[in-house]
Symmetry: C2
Subunit: 454 residues, 2 copies
């Protein structure tokens, strides 16, 4: 019997997170104060994050020890399995060897708890009583609710109102873990009340929800704020994925030529790819790492590298990143987790330095890939995850055309159990191709008043 | 670090299913022809099932080899993890040691694919082109759709119309794996057309859906029928669960005093419990095996042991079982998989012989247990699974009262990702206690015209 699933034991959960900053030839540029355009220091983040996370955010130490209590909780679902995709290989009739790391076995169904648990832990250590966050479709809000419950921290989630109404089941999931979920804009905050006064029928946006969550944290001593992607410490925590995958590939007696992950803010991609990039840095390996984004939100493939705000309303420091402009509004694709205007700082620098690659896929192509995968491998993927599958299929087909066998590894970051409406739309022919025009991007970028990067 | 999760490698997937019939002191009584009241032979089942499954249905061989191809597919999600429930133990402050086997990691989210894959395999071996089945809430239909897709068999699912309309996402899941799903009553069958002519607004029932699925199979040479519980061969396939659990308990250096599983038709319970009952038979162990049913469908705790039909409309042979009468209509609880009037033949005989125990829990109690479990262990359980949790909690509390430490193992048969509406109802106070009255049971049993068992 050929082995499909490469597993690790609980005591093989990695003991350290990998901080790629230590190995980067060009270090990330500093965030800037929007008013003074001067670099900001760690202290500026103190109202929002516990000090240990701020230290991780600016750290250049190569390895960061994972606290025992975090590893103990990771053991609820980690190590996650790594699969050899025999079914997909056969369906594609490709000489390529395809592997995928499956993060959908976590209680909330994606890779997000990897950082949610770590963030809740450090907040608990510093006596934080309440954490606020925003969520769109609900994947991140679910993960943080799960994590806060385990540490007895109150969790307050601002969920974009349209999603709150359209996807009630994610809300129930968060409630089950004890979180309070508010439709945003809400009457809990100045920001929310202001929007509601001006637009009583507002269906909300991620930008508004971020403003509400930040306001609640900034105005209360016992409350901090938490983010599910983009930031350096979030990427750091996710490297548990790639480190496990590295051990599992070794067990399989193989090493990937190509590593692929979906790209929203960067933590999914960083999680799988950074530990393999380490081999490029340390051992001169030449592993191609490809970030896979939707054509409807193409910041890596069609955006520019410059300073921009992390949020829509401009409350964050200015960050050096590939961006479509913070006012860019992506089409309402089902892969809600990839609808973000910018790329995290570290990934942006790596792309600028040509140490990683990026590609994009159309909405229709990714669902075709998702259904093919579900039939071949059994698991129905989340819409975000289908982007990684589409890239893997693209590379596997290229192998067939060229008559070469490459080893491909991708991150299957979550299951689609809460996304069946998306598949229903696909089968009903309601998923359409969507390409952003040059004009849209130019218009959005023209609104930026922030410094360019030389 | 204490070990939470006891895992096995892919090559530790058991090679044989365990057939408890070989060890039973009193063998199951034969099914009877409803017209003649004479025992029926295997040939009577040939229009509906492939011969290999019929042979398994009547087999008294102790071990049945699992085909390589089935084990290879099992490896997509098996071996499933066995957890030590440290979180639950702490929440209950109990001296008991609690373990659970988690079957929710399968692609369709429950233990059902264990038999769906085996059934699809044997049908494929015998050249069957199409399998029909019925489904209520959709858990069984999903599992069979998943399995048929892997073998290139067409799958036709008759889904009770009210569920078809209320739970569209299970249908989309089945479609994703290529199955055809029809709201039952449908116009595909005589049975369906007859019902629709008489009751154009019929919302369907499991009884009608079974009739439709059986009719489609019985009237086409290339089509067979498949059932997800009750029958002996279904129970046989599920013993993979308990055999893995046995190895895992050994790895943990422990052996359960009490084994618990939810009870609908019996395959969930049989799957976990039978391999432990083997130790009682072979080694004189005294492991208590408890089947956990809802108070709203109490066939084991309040039904009678006699011959009855397996379906509502009386198309099956008469089976010797604990039953509430085939006309009994359970309250519409969310644990749809436990809403069945009778118990499988083997389990019924074991209960009659006092070799296993049964208990029941109220609808409200099981949701309290489910939410407690979700908070303590992270996984949100399916409504069916909460019954096993409730029994485990009951036994763990008894340990605390009596100041003894027992080892408890239960089957967490599935996740609740498709059941969040049930939790929403619970949080909204819409879940109410439900007790069946003596009159209801008497009335239902009075309608039986079938032979009693002495």
């Amino acid at each position: 019997m050929k082995i499909r699933k490469i597993t690790l034991n609980e005591n093989e959960i990695p003991e350290k997170w990998y901080n790629i900053v230590a190995d980067m030839p060009n270090k990330p540029l500093p965030p800037l104060n929007p008013a003074t355009r001067e670099p900001i220091g760690p202290e500026a983040l103190a109202p929002l994050f516990p000090m240990e996370l701020i230290m991780q955010e600016v750290s250049a130490e190569k390895w960061v020890e994972i606290p025992d209590q975090v590893r103990d909780i990771y053991a609820m679902w980690r190590p996650t399995p790594l699969y050899r995709a025999y079914g997909l290989e056969k369906a594609l009739d490709t000489p390529a060897k395809i592997y995928y790391k499956y993060e959908g076995v976590s209680p909330s169904g994606s890779h997000k708890p990897n950082t949610a648990v770590a963030q809740a832990y450090y907040n608990k250590q510093e006596g934080v009583k309440r954490i606020t966050t925003e969520t769109g479709a609900g994947q991140w809000g679910s993960a943080l609710s799960f994590a806060c419950n385990l540490f007895g921290i109150e969790c307050e989630v601002y969920m974009v109102k349209i999603s709150y109404e359209q996807k009630p089941y994610r809300k129930v999931m968060m409630n089950t873990w004890g979180a309070k979920v508010f439709a945003s804009p809400s009457t809990n905050t100045e920001a929310g009340r202001k929007i509601l006064a001006e637009h009583p029928g507002s269906t909300g946006s991620l930008g508004i929800a971020i403003s509400e969550a930040i306001e609640r944290a900034a105005t209360r001593d016992d409350t901090k704020y938490s983010l599910g992607s983009v930031l350096n410490h979030v990427k750091l925590h996710q490297t548990i994925i790639g480190q496990e995958a590295l051990k599992q590939m070794e067990k399989a007696g193989d090493l990937p030529d190509i590593v692929i992950a979906p790209f929203g803010g960067g933590s999914n991609f960083a999680g799988l790819a950074f530990p393999f990039l380490r081999l490029n840095f340390e051992e001169g390996k030449n592993i191609r790492c490809i970030a896979s984004e939707p054509t409807s939100c193409p910041k890596l493939t069609r955006g520019v590298f410059r300073y921009d705000f992390g949020d829509t309303v401009g409350m964050t420091p200015l960050l050096p990143m590939y961006t479509l402009g913070h006012n860019f509004v992506p089409a309402p694709i089902h892969a809600g987790g990839l609808r973000y205007h910018g790329a995290g700082v570290i990934v942006s620098q790596l792309l600028k330095d040509k140490l990683i690659e990026a590609c994009s896929h159309d909405n229709l192509e990714v669902f075709e890939a998702g259904v093919l995968f579900a039939k071949a491998e059994g698991i129905i993927p989340a819409p975000e995850a289908t982007h990684g599958i589409a890239t893997a299929i693209h590379e596997a087909k290229k192998c067939k055309e060229e008559g070469v066998s490459k080893t491909i590894l991708f991150n299957l970051c979550g299951h689609g159990n809460f996304d069946m409406k998306a598949y229903e739309d696909y089968f009903a022919g309601k998923i359409v191709r969507h390409e952003v025009t040059e004009e849209e991007i130019k218009k959005s970028l023209a609104e930026l008043e922030t410094p360019e990067i030389g």
